[in-house]
């Protein structure tokens, strides 16, 4: 699997590439600026990109902007954003094109390399991985709007774990239920959110988006 890594701090970039190489990823390019990232994404067309939100030249959200620009030209180009902080605002912007293949994680998540590599693979496969911090903030809301209010408590739990990018099997393990029960919940969620049965993965993305936008 070919990866583009964008990170301006040398130590972190070096660590990331080594970690990915150790898990049999092929490093297509490792860049340290937003313009460099954009051109690498467009020329290399990697299977997935691991991108730091804050990049030179302006050290604001340049990484995010470059990733969004690349996805406008190559729809659905899988991008996993890393950041020292997570903002729902940025998560929504990433998900706005409803194509999936998007991840948004705190940099600390790299510490657990297995989960981190799983997340990269989920994103590369077109899934959606939101940091648990984003998800917990969503759940902390006092009230929801729209179709999401129709969900039961258990369904909301399942949807939250879905937003974190977990597969049905992982959700089942986490909630101590059978995978079958989880898949019943997901079907119910899709129905309540008016998501017509099509390609399953895309429905998952749309469900997470509805969750974020509630």
């Amino acid at each position: 699997m070919r990866v583009v890594v964008a990170e301006d701090l040398f130590l972190l970039r070096d660590g990331l590439t080594r970690l990915l190489a150790a898990h049999d990823f092929e490093i297509a390019a490792s860049v340290d600026t937003a313009p460099g990232l954009l051109s690498a994404l467009l020329t290399e067309r990697p299977d997935v990109a691991v991108v730091d939100v804050r990049l030179p030249p302006s050290f604001a959200d340049d990484g995010l902007q470059a990733a969004l620009a690349a996805r406008r030209q190559v729809p659905g180009l899988p991008v996993l954003l890393l950041s020292q902080y997570v903002e729902q605002l940025y998560a929504r912007e990433m998900l706005a094109d409803q194509l999936g293949g998007v991840g948004y994680l705190l940099k600390d998540r790299v510490f657990n390399d297995d989960q981190f590599v799983d997340a990269i693979r989920t994103v590369a496969a077109g899934g959606t991985v939101m940091d648990p911090e984003v998800v917990s903030k969503l759940l902390g809301r006092r009230s929801f709007e729209g179709p999401i209010t129709r969900l039961s408590g258990r369904e909301r739990e399942v949807l939250a774990l879905m937003a974190e990018g977990r597969s049905n099997a992982a959700i089942a393990q986490r909630l101590f239920v059978t995978e079958k029960a989880v898949s019943k919940h997901t079907t119910s969620i899709f129905t309540k959110l008016n998501l017509a049965p099509s390609e399953d993965d895309n429905r998952r993305v749309l469900a997470v988006l509805a969750f974020l936008n509630a």
Binding site: R54, S58, F59, A60, D61, S83, Q84, Y85, E87, Q88, L89, Y90, R92, L106, K107, D108, F111, K137, G140, R141, R142, S143, E145
Partner: protein, 623 residues
């Protein structure tokens, strides 16, 4: 006796508890009363002290060390001018004169004192001018120089037995006038009738400290020499004074601190008054100076009182009057000096004139008074541009710019708030770092060291420790993240106020209806202040209002940023109540921003913030 002492101690302790340290003012002023003698003013001061001690114990406690030191210093000065067995550092003083006369003069004499002098007692034995001695006593203790001076100014009326003797006497006087042993000897003009049996003689200075009294035909008959007399007080005065000074200095910081604590508003008030009054503070001392020149009478006392009133009511006028008055006094001083030089000696000599700090009774002292007048003039010249010229310029300039003054006042206040805020913010950050990330990094280091030691022996336990270390590093990162959010929220830095408020609304557990129209970015400080103000208002709405929905509207136009936050909660938000809204108001004040709150009981609450600021292009600003 023992019971009496116990009773005294009990009463004293009770009174001390009841009135505090200020009660000690009474015994201290009593000591002063004994030291300075029983006069109207000392008694008055004592009664005043008693009144203050009982009615304003705080003031009395604050005054106590001041009065202790003052009485102590006065006591030392007194001790220095009084004879006694106190030691050789004390100069001897004169408390009496011995008069000795040679027999054969045959004249009697009377010493008449000029007004205000205190030579009182007649020498009885010498009155017959035949034998022995008499004593001239001064009331109170008078230093030798002053005593001699006063004696010198005394007239001695004499009566001689025969015309021949009188003629001789007059001849002597004339001779004296021709070749005076001392220049200060007045002309003997007053002896008008040669045939008279009585006349006026003068005490002339002999080699000091003795005097010769020129009265009889033999001329040098009478010798007056000063006699030191020990003072009963001198021995005890010094230790008492030193004790008072030491106690006063020891007490001063304590009572002052307590006074400051009890009257917190006083010092700022005094400082403000001092800033208003400035040089006007000199008016009353200057008026008192006039008191020494023109004597104490109803008019001059009225002037001093008027000076006090002017100082308090019209400080600027007071400041202008100071150099004018000083100039008048200086001119008077020059005239005094000049007249002393030119006038017939007797005229002024018999009327010594007090001028400021100098009692002019001799040519040298007149010159000193002239020097003093010069000093006054110099001071007036120095003050002139600082008072009259400055105020004149203010008057001739455009009418006082009230708006500008108000602006300066406001800027001073808001700058204070800003500095205070910045300082307390830094302290908070320091505390957070110290207790949070820093402590966790220390723990991390210790864990890793433990791992180093354990690795060869028990790899499993080491592995558990490594996991713990990783957990600690995550927590440290969390701490840092929270801290950074509190200093400079990332979205605010990245994208400005509009997006940051959107992100904030997403994190708020209440539905927030946003209506934001900000085409560009604002300056970083304004963005930060507005962001945290909005964050606080949203938090208030969540915590206190019980609202179901918050509406947030941000607009920028005509150089003014307007933020409206309204909710459908219970209302009753009051800036006077609680520090949150006040804090927002103060922080916005730094940018000349304002906060308006409308929150009737039962709601809804509407809060409007307006901050004047320019809109910058999106690219030029970063936090």
């Amino acid at each position: 006796m023992w019971l009496l002492m116990k009773l005294f101690y009990r009463t004293f302790a009770h009174l001390l508890r009841r009135f505090g340290l200020g009660l000690l003012l009474v015994p201290v002023t009593a000591v002063a009363l004994v030291l300075f003698g029983l006069h109207a003013w000392t008694v008055l001061a004592f009664l005043l002290a008693v009144a203050v001690a009982f009615w304003w114990p705080t003031v009395a406690a604050a005054l106590l060390p001041v009065i202790m030191v003052a009485v102590g210093v006065a006591g030392l000065v007194l001790a220095a001018t009084v004879t006694g067995p106190g030691g050789n550092w004390m100069r001897s003083a004169v408390s009496g004169f011995q008069v000795s006369a040679k027999p054969g003069g045959g004249a009697s004499w009377v010493i008449k004192t000029p007004a205000g002098l205190q030579v009182v007692q007649l020498p009885v034995a010498a009155a017959r001018f035949g034998v022995g001695q008499g004593t001239i006593t001064f009331a109170g203790h008078v230093p030798p120089a002053v005593a001699l001076n006063r004696l010198h100014q005394a007239q001695v009326n004499f009566r001689v037995a025969s015309k021949a003797a009188a003629a001789k006497q007059i001849a002597v006087n004339k001779k004296l006038v021709k070749r005076p042993p001392n220049a200060k000897l007045p002309q003997a003009k007053r002896i008008q009738r040669p045939a008279a049996v009585s006349g006026v003689g003068y005490v002339a200075a002999a080699p000091r400290p003795a005097f010769r009294l020129w009265t009889g035909p033999g001329a040098v008959h009478t010798v007056i020499s000063p006699v030191p007399r020990p003072s009963p007080w001198a021995g005890r005065l010094v230790p008492v004074a030193l004790l008072l000074i030491a106690l006063g200095l020891w007490l001063a910081p304590r009572t002052f601190a307590e006074f400051r604590q009890r009257t917190p508003g006083l010092l700022p008030y005094l400082r403000r008054r001092m800033q208003e009054i400035r040089w006007g503070i000199l008016l009353v001392p200057t008026a008192v100076l006039g008191l020494t020149i023109f004597g104490m009478n109803p008019v001059t006392l009225g002037m001093v009182a008027a000076a006090a009133v002017i100082t308090l009511r019209w400080p600027r006028v007071a400041a202008d009057l100071v150099p004018v008055l000083l100039t008048v006094f200086a001119v008077y001083g020059f005239v005094l000096t000049a007249r002393w030089e030119s006038a017939p000696l007797g005229v002024l000599a018999s009327h010594p004139q007090l001028y400021g700090f100098v009692e002019v009774s001799s040519r040298e002292l007149a010159v000193l008074a002239g020097a003093e007048a010069s000093a006054f003039l110099a001071m007036a010249a120095w003050l002139f541009p600082r008072t009259v010229v400055k105020h004149g310029r203010l008057l001739t300039a455009a009418e006082p710019n009230l708006e500008l003054e108000g602006r300066v006042q406001r800027l001073t206040e808001t700058r204070d708030h800003a500095l205070h805020n910045a300082a307390s913010e830094l302290r908070r950050i320091e505390r957070d770092l110290h207790d949070g990330a820093q402590a966790r990094l220390v723990a991390l280091g210790m864990n890793l060291r433990a791992v180093e030691r354990m690795l060869p022996a028990s790899p499993d336990a080491a592995l558990a420790l490594v996991a713990e270390a990783r957990e600690t590093s995550v927590r440290a990162l969390n701490d840092l993240r929270d801290l950074i959010r509190g200093i400079c929220p990332p979205v605010l830095a990245d994208r400005g106020l509009g997006h940051a408020v959107r992100a904030l609304a997403l994190d708020t557990p209440l539905p927030v209806v946003l209506d934001i129209d900000l085409p560009g970015r604002l300056s970083a400080p304004v963005e930060s202040a507005c962001y945290f103000a909005i964050a606080e208002l949203l938090a208030n709405a969540v915590k206190h209002s019980g609202a179901r929905q918050v509406q947030l509207r941000i607009r920028h136009g005509d150089g003014l940023l307007r933020v409206e936050v309204s909710d459908d909660g219970v209302g009753c938000a009051d800036p006077a109540n609680g520090t949150g809204l006040q804090g927002i108001e103060r922080r916005l004040g730094t940018f000349d921003g304002i906060l308006a709150v409308s929150s009737p009981p039962g709601g809804p609450t509407m809060i409007v913030m307006e901050v004047p600021c320019a809109l910058l292009s999106p690219k030029t600003c970063s936090c």
